[in-house]
């Protein structure tokens, strides 16, 4: 439903202006909470005050000076990196298997791989918590990384699956015909071709783990992750340190998305790609 001339004609209509105004308000509603943390994080007031009475870096100093915050951040980075690598390592072969396979049980595997996205996180958390408590894995960072891998897997499979479906298999066949082994053909031809999807999947998996609270809340024990530390802080005392952390987190994620845009040719947005 695109067409510049028609769109231009429509914009002039009163209905069109109303629609634009309504959408502007909704966009403001969507963006407002992300914007608001920036001024708060540099406020000099110890309590929430808006507009901020003065400028100060003290909440950033608070964050960087507090070993608990830093330890939680580093732990989350470690877990997210591990979950990202593991979900790519397991998810990439799975995507190949699901897209190209015609074996019995494929549909079941596909459903199973999508299930962690549908089953509420609280159920998975409690279930894995029960298991890990038995295995004495509570507090182990790799336990959280494993559980996060399960959560990230559906996203990896969706993104890579879309990439593989869009890949022209005759290129791989050509490599095979020229004497490459299947492994060589995939490694040298197919994977480089779907690199944008790989990058998007990696970023998505990283963020899924890095932002995840509920699983980590149960499995972390006293070994806090960043979201768990943020959750506790929000519950106990809201001081603007959390605003500073929020700003840093927004910047980190924005950086990750921009990098994925740069190296992934802007394919982070699945829906844009779907539409012709």
């Amino acid at each position: 439903m695109r067409g510049t001339s028609r769109a231009r004609r429509r914009r002039a209509r009163p209905g069109r202006i109303l629609l634009g105004a309504v959408c502007a308000l909704i966009f403001a509603f969507l963006v407002l909470p992300l914007v608001i943390v920036f001024p708060l994080s540099v406020s000099s007031a110890p309590y929430l005050e808006f507009p901020p009475p003065g400028f100060s870096w003290r909440w950033y100093e608070n964050y960087f000076g507090d070993p608990v915050w830093i330890a939680a951040t580093l732990r989350s980075l470690k877990i997210a990196t591990a979950a990202m690598l593991l979900s790519l390592l397991i998810g990439t072969p799975l995507a190949f298997s699901l897209v190209r396979g015609r074996y019995p049980g494929r549909v079941v595997l596909e459903r199973l791989a999508a299930a962690p996205m549908i089953v509420p996180a609280i159920i998975l958390s409690v279930a894995v918590y029960g298991l890990f408590a038995k295995l004495k894995l509570i507090g182990a960072w790799y336990g959280i990384a494993l559980a996060h891998t399960v959560l990230a897997l559906p996203f990896v499979v969706i993104v890579l699956g879309a990439g593989l479906k869009g890949f022209d298999e005759s290129l791989e066949a050509a490599a095979l015909g020229l004497g490459a082994s299947r492994w060589q053909a995939v490694w040298r031809v197919t994977l480089p071709q779907i690199r944008p999807s790989l990058v998007s999947a990696a970023v998505l998996a990283f963020i899924t783990s890095f932002d995840e609270l509920v699983v980590a809340m149960f499995l972390a024990g006293s070994e806090m992750t960043l979201p768990k530390k943020m959750f506790d802080n929000i519950r106990m005392e809201i001081d603007p340190t959390i605003a500073a952390v929020s700003v840093l987190q927004i910047l980190l994620i924005t950086l990750a998305v921009l990098l994925s845009q740069r190296f992934g040719h802007g394919t982070f947005d699945m829906h844009e790609r779907e539409s012709p």
Binding site: R10, V31, S97, A115, I122
Partner: protein, 292 residues
């Protein structure tokens, strides 16, 4: 990529053998994932479901589904999920329509506004809403200063706060499927109606809306199902006063240490989730799939 139709001509035995070997190795590629999902997803979840029946009776289900206190929790959960879904639809449809019909530039700007929250930590957003909606929060300060209200409105630590926070999180999940279905709509239908002189409102009601209903349906199901299992938003913006089912499960495990009861509650939530999702997929039928 669809497989070549095997039935067209009988394959030479060598090709058939190669092909079945290829299929076997493709199946093997799924094994690591199968192992991970079996050990860390299917097994723990089934084990949890088993706990709810551990004393060989249905007493925990009777408690979960029979006692007024807990029925109230289900009622609140479904009510909030319904309100959130409706609000997300009312806000999401115009946005999706706008994105699908405006110029390239405004589509890009709008998409940034819709996707950006999706990439931001839910904790950051929830925290921001607490700052905005609190008694001395920015919204109330503004309303008081403008003289629109005499006393701060109760926007936080109640159902309204939870709904606002959840709608904010879930709008993108409504916008994206509706946007896709609007994009699939054949523009010549609209042009034909325009050419025949139909007013814009009628074109929308008779052509655009009916043809985007599959996207609406997908978005509604997705948002509703996701709402049912929400934890972070009700836990923080509800301030302990809005107990949704996920919050109750957490309390039963971590505070009451009542595993069988928590397991029964989780089983009910799981069955509700799967049932709604399954029904939706069935009624979408042919090729239709609930995203993402």
């Amino acid at each position: 990529m669809s497989a070549l139709p095997d039935a067209v001509a009988p394959l030479p035995p060598k090709v058939a053998a190669l092909r079945s070997r290829y299929q076997r190795s493709l199946a093997a590629l799924g094994l690591p994932a199968l192992l991970l999902l079996a050990l860390l997803f299917a097994y723990p979840v089934l084990r949890l479901m088993g706990l709810s029946l551990s004393d060989g009776s249905l007493q925990w289900y009777e408690k979960a589904l029979g006692e007024g206190l807990y029925l109230e929790v289900y009622w609140i959960t479904f009510r909030i999920a319904g309100i959130v879904t409706l609000a997300a639809l009312l806000l999401g449809y115009p946005v999706a329509y706008f994105l699908a019909t405006t110029t390239r530039f405004w589509t890009a700007v709008g998409f940034v506004c819709v996707i950006l929250p999706l990439w931001t930590s839910i904790l950051v957003r929830t925290y921001a809403w607490m700052v905005l909606l609190g008694r001395n929060g920015i919204v109330n300060r503004l309303l008081l200063d403008l003289g629109l209200v005499r006393e701060p409105l109760p926007l936080l630590y109640n159902e309204l706060g939870v709904v606002i926070g959840m709608v904010h999180v879930l709008i993108p999940y409504m916008v994206l499927p509706i946007f896709s279905s609007l994009k699939r709509l054949d523009p010549s239908l609209v042009q034909a109606a325009e050419g025949l002189g139909a007013p814009a409102a009628r074109i929308f009601l008779r052509i655009v809306l009916p043809l985007s209903l599959d996207g609406v349906f997908a978005g509604v199901i997705l948002v509703f199902v996701l709402s049912l299992g929400f934890f972070v938003t009700p836990a923080l913006l509800g301030g302990g006063r809005v107990i949704m089912i996920a919050v109750l499960i957490e309390q039963q495990v971590r505070e009451a240490l009542n595993w069988p009861f928590a397991a029964a509650l989780a089983a009910v939530l799981l069955v509700a989730t799967i049932a709604i999702y399954g029904l939706a997929q069935r009624s979408l039928g042919r090729g239709g799939e609930v995203p993402p």
